[in-house]
């Protein structure tokens, strides 16, 4: 029922959390295969897909949920510009891991705060 009065924010947050969770598994897979010969690292693209609707979603007004229909996280192989096959760079993977972990937790915190604001409205400020 709560999603009837909510904006598209929860939808975007859910998608972003899905993407971050997927990104973690892809990074973990790259790290597990760092010494596998001939392995090409994988990555997840997600935020890029929102470029078209980014300005719409960044505005303060309530958002049309149809904007969320298209973009989904996508796994693809790394393709470096020089055309050579990519190899796992462990330091970069660990850096990505650190950033992704923080991002995931930031999103979770955002979800908590957002829901608690709704909670204030629902309970009229009473415990």
């Amino acid at each position: 029922m709560i999603d009837e009065i909510d904006s598209a924010t929860m939808g975007v947050l859910r998608l972003a959390l899905d993407a971050a969770s997927l990104r973690h598994r892809v990074i973990a897979h790259n790290v597990a295969n760092t010494n596998t010969d001939g392995y090409t690292p994988l990555r997840v693209s997600f935020e890029e897909q929102f470029d078209a609707v980014r300005s719409a979603l960044g505005r303060p007004e309530p958002v049309d949920r149809g904007l969320l229909e298209g973009p989904r996280p996508v796994i693809s192989q790394d393709a470096p510009l020089d055309g050579a096959s990519a190899r796992v760079e462990l330091d970069m993977e660990i850096a990505k891991l650190a950033q992704n972990t923080v991002h995931y937790q930031a999103l979770l915190r955002g979800v908590s705060k957002h829901l608690s604001i709704l909670g204030i409205a629902v309970t009229e400020g009473k415990r």
């Binding site: 972003a16 997600f46 979603l57 309530p62 958002v63 705060k113 409205a121 400020g125």
Partner: protein, 100 residues
């Protein structure tokens, strides 16, 4: 998100001031106006916090702490607004209960 539902109890306050020419009336409509302004400010604050959160989700937020601070401030403002509304409502109900 928007907060118009919270204002449901308020028209009574503003309306009560209309017929009276007594000195008390001005302060009552003053309060009604003030509250209306606060309501719209809090609504804006909440919308902005929401937009900030969406930008964070899309990998767009230029700083994480600002998003979190905005969210928390909006939440507190909203909480304060609701408490003011509850007290005003209680006061109104108490007045209505008085024997004439």
């Amino acid at each position: 998100m928007n907060v118009e539902a919270v204002a449901a109890g308020l028209p009574a306050l503003g309306g009560a001031s209309a017929p009276a020419g007594a000195p008390g009336a001005d302060s009552l409509s003053g309060f009604g106006n003030w509250f209306g302004q606060q309501l719209s400010q809090v609504n804006d604050q909440l919308q902005r916090a929401d937009a900030g959160l969406r930008q964070l989700a899309l990998g767009d937020a230029s700083n994480l702490h600002q998003v979190m601070i905005n969210l928390e401030e909006a939440r507190l403002s909203f909480q304060l607004l609701v408490q003011v509304r509850n007290r005003a409502l209680e006061a109104y109900q108490e007045v209505m209960r008085m024997q004439v």
